[in-house]
């Protein structure tokens, strides 16, 4: 590394630990900015230094870009890695870091801003020749009614400032649309500080397929294949895999080419993910959004490509060229990730914080476990409930499923409720074994 010597990790949990480990392998020092609740966490302990940036609630710590930048400056870091969630897609943090001479490990603030505005991103995709779902911004109820009639019911009402499954409502008829619109506007205004909403066609039978892209600061853009994240509950991913099962080669080629074209069109830099929805009835695919961060599910791509994506982010942020071309990217085997969450499935997926009296994941040859927890760790109530990511990589899909089933069966966890049984139901289900499922499948077939 030429410019980056010490990295400030502005996150917590497994991804903070993941970044610390990636930095260590690259010979970089790390400073973890932890909230009071995470002072004794594994990431904080593994880092060269920990600074407590604030009290436990994220709004007073992990979401404070001013504290993050001040802490990075005060500890003489030269880069900030934001992880995922929290400030990872905050143009404000990216801009503030740049103003202070710090390297933000992610795209430039202008690109993050564009991507965060789902309407602008849609327009840019269209301009780049990437298909988008029929739809448009609606400023008034009458305009919405007219637009919905053109699109056809049911129709999705989305917040321009939303994304990642947030700020989406489904209207089945004009009456429902009228009721939802004002609610959607006020919710969007409160949640995203942007009350613009737009309508989009609802795809009843949909798969969620996303393309990992990597772009350096010298204009090179490649893709690292796709991931299928269709096993979802309320737009939250539960199981992800690469490659996407039963994806016809023509569609795969179109998705990856369009993702690269879009990234080039918006001047994307660093790693990102272009999300698509596949209509399994019509065979069409449409652009959904671009995510300007490392994804939770990045390990499945690492498994099948044999490349360290977090290290890649740091190299790119340091100004290095990618160092490989599209033809160098080869894919090997099948990888599946399941997210083990501390939640009470029987009681509406309520988070289940607490102290782990027991936690041990079996060591298996084809299994990777990304976790920040061990026996004795506490899962605080303030943050998301992700405990561990179990990633199996095998020659074939069935073999990968076997590995995960064995891992989940032999997993020891006591002290909190988990979604282990739900994950086992998914992996053991005939529909899942047969291949592709749709995004409504989990809630329809299992929950």
């Amino acid at each position: 590394m030429k410019r980056i010597k010490r990295v400030f990790v502005a996150n917590r949990g497994e991804i903070a630990l993941r970044v610390v480990c990636a930095c260590r392998e690259l010979g970089l020092e790390t400073v973890v900015g932890a909230s009071e609740a995470d002072r004794d966490g594994l990431a904080a302990r593994e880092a060269d230094r920990m600074v407590c940036i604030g009290p436990a609630p994220a709004a007073q710590s992990y979401l404070r870009d001013d504290l993050v930048v001040q802490a990075a400056l005060g500890t003489e870091c030269d880069a900030i890695h934001p992880g995922y969630g929290f400030l990872s897609e905050s143009p404000k943090l990216a801009a503030r870091a740049r103003e202070q001479g710090l390297i933000f490990v992610g795209p430039p603030p202008e690109v993050i801003e564009l991507s965060g505005d789902k309407l602008r991103a849609r327009a840019e995709a269209e301009r780049a020749g990437v298909p988008v779902l029929p739809g448009k911004e609606v400023a008034s109820d009458s305009e919405a009614k007219k637009t919905a009639r053109e699109i056809g019911y049911p129709v999705l009402v989305k917040a321009a400032g939303g994304g990642g499954g947030r700020g989406i409502k489904l209207a089945r008829d004009p009456d429902e649309l009228k009721d939802l619109l004002s609610l959607a506007r006020s919710e969007a205004g409160a949640a995203f500080g942007d009350d613009r909403v737009y309508l989009e066609r609802f795809v009843a039978s949909a798969r969620h397929v996303e393309v990992q892209i990597a772009a350096d600061e010298h204009g090179a853009v490649v893709h690292l294949g796709e991931r299928d994240c269709s096993v979802q509950r309320r737009y939250q991913k539960v199981v992800e895999q690469a490659p996407a099962p039963q994806l016809d080669p023509a569609t795969r080629n179109a998705l990856t080419a369009e993702a690269v074209a879009f990234a080039k069109a918006i001047g994307y830099q660093n790693l990102g993910t272009v999300e698509f929805v596949l209509d399994t009835d019509s065979g069409e695919h449409f652009f959904l959004e671009i995510n300007c961060r490392i994804q939770v599910e990045h390990p499945v791509t690492e498994a099948v490509t044999g490349r360290d994506l977090v290290a890649m982010q740091l190299h790119i942020a340091d100004g290095e060229p990618l160092g490989f071309t599209q033809t160098d990217v080869v894919f090997d085997g099948h990888a599946i990730e399941c997210r083990l969450n501390a939640e009470d499935v029987a009681h509406g997926f309520m988070p289940s914080p607490g102290t782990l009296s027991l936690f041990s994941v079996p060591e298996l040859l084809q299994l990777r476990v990304d976790t920040h927890l061990c026996a004795g760790s506490t899962i605080p109530p303030y943050y998301d409930s992700l405990m561990a990511k179990l990633i199996a990589h095998a020659e074939g899909r069935e073999a990968a499923i076997d590995v995960l089933q064995e891992a989940l069966e032999d997993l020891d966890v006591e002290g909190v409720e988990t979604n282990r049984m739900l994950l086992m139901s998914v992996l053991g289900h005939d529909d899942f074994h047969r291949g592709a499922v749709t995004t409504d499948w989990l809630e329809r077939a299992i929950v």
Partner: protein, 151 residues
């Protein structure tokens, strides 16, 4: 920025209704310093180059002074992460020294977060026994700043 009497009254009304005890705004060509009640105005702010994005100073949430330890001393913890300043500006006298008597609302230091100057009150009454961090050092949230012999 020319201000009318109306404007000044409006500003004072806003400050009166807030829980700030002191407000300082410095922007290009405009400077306002208001102190509520009968407090002595503190000295000039740190002599940084005037910037239009200089934020008004505000008083930090009173930190909860920790229970006296075995040696009978109480600790004043940092109410936020930031840069610790013992005085309003480099040439000025520190707010407190070892031996200074403090009341809960006595300002003991400033913590700067991205040009935002946060005054830190003692939160405890007694005599300063130790100043722990060095001036201009980064302090973490909750880090002990002062040790105080309780009155």
């Amino acid at each position: 920025m020319p201000l009318s009497d109306e404007d000044v009254r409006e500003i004072l009304r806003i400050i009166d209704e807030s829980d700030l005890s002191e407000l300082r705004i410095d922007t290009d060509g405009f400077s306002l310093h208001v102190v509520k009640g009968d407090r002595e105005p503190t000295a000039a702010p740190p002599s940084r180059p005037a910037r239009s994005d200089t934020a008004p100073s505000k008083q930090a949430e009173p930190p909860v002074a920790e229970e006296a330890t075995a040696d009978g001393l109480a600790t004043i913890p940092a109410p936020m992460l930031g840069t610790f300043y013992r005085a309003e500006s480099p040439g000025k006298l520190p707010f407190v020294e070892v031996g200074t008597h403090v009341e809960p609302d006595t300002i003991v230091c400033i913590i700067e977060v991205m040009k935002m100057m946060n005054s830190v009150p003692a939160g405890v009454s007694g005599t300063v026994a130790e100043v722990i961090p060095d001036n201009a050092e980064l302090v973490e949230y909750g880090q002990p700043l002062f040790r105080v012999q309780p009155a």
